[in-house]
């Protein structure tokens, strides 16, 4: 599938609005433009409706509409004058990211994704210890015991249950025999209605205690003498022992989390605890981690940066060849410490992912629905990959790049093309 023609009727469509990248949506022509069947996903339905219904904000300089040529010239002048540019946001497709890297090299820029914090909660663990993971089809077909850490996975990835945890059909692990364990702040929350109550265990837990829980489970599995007394963080000793036994007895257990939800200091240590439990389990049985991510293109940006430069994101070209600084190159810190004099922000996927409020002059390549809260130095609307132009992007499990199609006729340029035009002007 690769066509610059807009889809005509009932074509299969890939959704670019969350890291599950469901590719079974369809689009059909409607009276007011194309209509998308989002297969019951509220997030996709909303996002497509918003993207297809919204008018595009015009290109602008400091809030004043201007021609594309004028804004490109202005943007190029800003890039030429910058001594420490920061390229961030990076919510774009593979070719957008390829173009971003070319321009970053040319300008000596530092790169970070708007989801950088979440991305690095996982990446730091990969770099310190490595891990053992599975992919969507493996979880769907093989998992017989699934632990989901955190409550937000179900909102961030709306079709998670249907596609992976409790699918209609599976090769090796009948869905009706699966056990699901929901761990997180569920005490005052409804568990997802689509999960069968009889197969679901809920362990209410503050996520900051997740690492402690993983440690206890590892201890129990290793048959270490543990002084648990009255349990741990409100979970009774018997329930802990029961969960450990279920992990020991499972054929293929899976631990699911979304690092974005682990928004507390040093959450990478919590991810490490999850990963170490998976590693321990694999000594005797099979288990895999499934870190959910990828929404707004964080996996995409990181993959392309890694293959082209040899380093993951939070890399920069300030000193010739690329330099990797996972702690120092956090974009929020660069902005707040005044260590950058120009921000180039790409947010092609979602209007909600606009640039942070900053005094630093900003060039925004934004989703057509993006209306910058405060006028930026230069605004260029760019097409949405998967709607205005074809593209590629990665889903959560990092192995699968899906082609994004084109849904409507559009005059909006892809981010990659705008970046090439900027580079030509340097």
């Amino acid at each position: 599938m690769w066509s610059t023609e807009a889809k005509s009727a009932d074509s299969v469509l890939t959704c670019p609005f969350c890291g599950l990248a469901c590719d079974d949506l369809s689009v059909a022509p409607g009276e007011q433009g194309p209509k998308v069947d989002a297969r019951g996903c509220g997030l996709a339905a909303r996002s497509f409706a918003e993207a297809l219904g919204g008018a595009s904000a015009p290109a602008a300089i400091r809030g004043q509409p201007a021609s594309l040529e004028q804004v490109l010239d202005h943007g190029a002048a800003l890039l030429r004058g910058a001594s420490a540019p920061l390229f961030a946001g990076l919510a774009t497709d593979v070719n957008g990211m390829r173009a971003m890297l070319e321009l970053a090299e040319r300008c000596g820029a530092v790169l970070d994704h708007l989801n950088g914090d979440a991305l690095f909660r996982n990446l730091l663990v990969l770099q310190e210890h490595g891990w053992l993971t599975g992919t969507f089809a493996e979880v769907r077909n093989r998992a017989d015991l699934i632990l989901v850490a955190g409550t937000e996975c179900f909102e961030r990835f709306p079709r998670l249950s249907e596609r992976l945890l409790y699918p209609p059909d599976a090769l090796f692990s009948p869905p009706r025999e699966r056990q699901l364990v929901l761990i997180g702040p569920w005490a005052d929350r409804q568990t997802p209605a689509e999960l069968p109550k009889s197969q679901t265990t809920v362990l209410p837990l503050d996520l900051k205690d997740l690492a402690g829980l993983m440690g206890i489970l590892r201890g129990l599995l290793a048959k270490r003498p543990l002084q648990l007394g009255g349990g741990f963080a409100g979970i009774a000793t018997e329930r802990l022992a029961d969960l450990a036994e279920r992990l020991r007895g499972a054929r293929y257990s899976v631990l699911v989390w979304s690092a974005a939800e682990l928004a507390f200091p040093h959450a990478e240590l919590t991810v490490r605890a999850l990963v170490e439990l998976v590693r321990d389990l694999n000594e005797e049985t099979r288990a895999a981690a499934l870190p959910l991510a990828g929404s707004l293109g964080d996996v995409t940006a990181n993959q392309v940066c890694t293959w082209q430069t040899g380093y993951p994101l939070r890399s920069g070209f300030q000193q010739g060849g690329p330099r990797y600084e996972p702690i120092l190159y956090r974009h929020q810190d660069l902005l707040s410490r005044g260590e950058t004099d120009l921000l180039l922000w790409i947010s092609a996927l979602s209007p909600a992912a606009g640039p942070p409020s900053t005094q630093v002059p900003t060039i925004l390549l934004g989703n057509p629905g993006t209306a910058p809260a405060e006028p930026v130095e230069a605004f260029i609307p760019v097409g949405i990959p998967g709607i205005d132009h074809p593209g590629h992007w990665y889903r959560s499990d990092t192995v699968c790049t899906l082609p994004l199609g084109r849904v409507r006729d559009s005059t909006l340029l892809p981010a990659a093309e705008v970046l090439h035009l900027l580079k030509k002007r340097l």
Binding site: L126, W307, Q308, G310, G320, H392
Partner: protein
């Protein structure tokens, strides 16, 4: 534009040219048949220089998910690249985990012009091609991995006919835009997902009523019957296990006479003799290869130093996790297709096992008679980074140097090896066979790997230096499609390559079965699984070049 290369000494085994001074003429990216009437626009005086076709690496891990996992996991193996800084470019250079840009530049700087990624997971094929598209100066291609995918195992278990398997194999090639079929630890990666930690050639899979032998036989037959030039590319069972020579020999037999390529065979040529129960079985393996003309191999030579092993063989990589250096590793079960494992490794010359592995690789090179059936690889980066090829060529062409190196390794390993007694020195002609003519022939690439009329003007010119490592490490000139891309070891021009594929016919009815399977159990629809030619050219950035197959069924 007409270019003349004059006075060079040609080594062109495909055309039987062994060190003859001849002129070459290039126009429109190709080598001309004899001198044209008009005078050349540009003439290169190559008097005293060695001229060969651009080199071809038929087994090097340069693209795809597991390579990128290695990069992401091991930023400490990257470094500033000084050697090629003049070419500029956005890359760092760690020899074991080079960025795609560094990969392209470094290969070109050694005179390589075509490289093949041997482990393309079908679901990850887009990424593999995107990474290879971003490796400049190289034409590339991939081998699609089958043999651990649940659909093939299911089809075989149902007892569908060979024709259906053949259709599925051909569909996979087409969908993934690949040139070959690879099987890694046949059935073993799948078995590992069922918590089986070892699977011998005649052992039954824990779920399917199949053995690795069945898988090798079925797939090697499919590849032959489809008329594909490249034989089934096999990473055999029990990689790295002492005594695995038995399974390696059994894997050769499993092909039942159909062409079969056993890759990185060094890792599969181990005996159990001696007090450490680890010994060289190179002699037995070499004898079997010499005897069975349907067998080709590449060596997967190891070199001492830091590298990273990246493989689809999750079963064996997980077993080797305790040898990780630095101490971290990643494994992944992937999409009911296969898996991958990334384990960093440091081979030490004073470690008995590593030292013997080094010797075993060289024994295999020297004991296998026919240079058309043995290929020069380090299984980059598993045995060593590809940048060690010039050093490897010196080891093969210079017995004195080899013996000096042998004297430096663990003495017990040296004592257990036959290497000291092997006098063979590869000639330049033989080096040209194993790095140019033979890989082109076994991949079915008639347009390259030689210097005859009509060939693609991928040409490498070497200075003849006192030692082969210097000669092959820094060519005087490299032409890619007729354009000079490297001068005196420096990249002077960058351009992008194309993707080499073969495309045997298949019965479209197989798509019904595959589509239903994907819809019911998988996570990607068939329409998205398949990569079109337009997508390759416009989206991925590497247009497809189709090479012919023999007619289907003519095997």
């Amino acid at each position: 534009m007409l270019t003349k290369l004059t006075g060079g000494c040609l080594y062109d085994p495909a055309n039987g040219v062994d060190g003859e001074v001849r002129d070459l003429y290039i126009r429109d990216g190709h080598i001309l048949d004899g001198p044209p009437a008009e005078s050349p626009d540009r003439t290169y005086d190559l008097t005293g220089k060695l001229v060969m076709a651009g080199a071809i690496d038929l087994h090097t891990h340069i693209g795809g998910g597991k390579v990128n996992i290695a990069r992401a996991m091991l930023p400490e193996l990257q470094g500033r690249d000084d050697a090629t800084s003049r070419s500029g470019g956005r890359y760092s250079f760690g020899p074991a985990t080079p960025s795609t840009l560094a990969t392209g530049y470094r290969y070109a700087q050694m005179g390589y012009t075509s490289c093949f990624e041997p482990a393309v997971l079908p679901v990850n094929a887009r990424q593999a091609h995107m990474e290879m598209a971003d490796a400049p100066l190289l034409d590339t291609g991939g081998y699609a991995m089958l043999g651990n995918d649940d659909l093939l195992l299911q089809l075989m278990s149902e007892g569908v006919g060979q024709e259906v398997i053949n259709d599925y194999v051909a569909w996979t090639l087409r969908a993934t835009q690949c040139i070959g079929i690879k099987v890694v630890n046949p059935g073993g990666i799948s078995a590992f997902k069922f918590n089986t930690r070892k699977l011998d050639v005649d052992e039954r899979h824990p779920h399917y009523p199949l053995t690795p032998r069945d898988i090798v036989r079925t797939l090697s037959r499919a590849v032959a019957e489809l008329g594909m030039p490249h034989p089934l590319h096999v990473h055999a069972s029990n990689l790295g296990v002492p005594g695995n020579q038995t399974s390696t020999l059994a894997t050769m037999e499993a092909a039942e006479g159909f062409p079969i390529h056993l890759t990185h065979i060094q890792f599969h040529s181990y005996g159990t003799e001696g007090e450490r129960h680890f010994s060289s079985a190179a002699a037995e393996i070499a004898e079997a290869v010499n005897r069975q003309k349907n067998v080709t191999i590449d060596v997967g030579q190891i070199m001492f130093g830091q590298t990273v092993t990246i493989s689809g063989d999750t079963m064996r990589q997980h077993a080797n996790r305790r040898f990780a250096h630095p101490r971290k590793w990643t494994c992944m079960d992937i999409e009911c297709e296969a898996g991958c494992g990334v384990v960093p490794f440091r081979y030490r010359d004073k470690n008995f096992v590593n030292a013997l592995q080094w010797a075993i690789g060289l024994e295999l090179f020297l004991m296998i008679d026919d240079p058309w059936r043995v290929f020069l690889t380090t299984d980059h980066p598993n045995g060593a980074p590809f940048t060690s090829y010039p050093h490897l060529i010196r080891l093969l062409t210079d017995k004195g140097f080899r013996n000096d190196q042998l004297a430096c390794i663990h003495p017990d390993a040296a004592a257990m090896s036959r290497l000291a007694g092997l006098d063979r020195e590869y000639s330049l002609y033989e080096i040209a066979i194993m790095t140019r003519a033979a890989p082109a022939r076994i991949l079915g690439l008639t347009d390259r790997g030689h210097l005859g009329p009509g060939a693609l003007a991928d040409i490498t010119v070497y200075h003849e230096r006192p030692d082969a490592e210097q000669t092959f490490g820094s060519p005087m000139l490299v032409f890619k499609g007729g354009q000079v891309v490297v001068e005196e070891g420096q990249v002077t021009r960058t351009l992008s390559g194309s993707t080499q594929v073969v495309r045997p016919d298949y019965d479209r009815r197989i798509e019904q079965r595959i589509g239903d399977w994907l819809d019911r159990y998988h996570s990607v629809r068939m329409g998205n699984f398949r990569i079109s030619d337009e997508e390759m050219a416009e989206g991925i950035g590497s247009p497809v070049q189709v090479h012919p197959c023999r007619p289907r069924g003519s095997a």
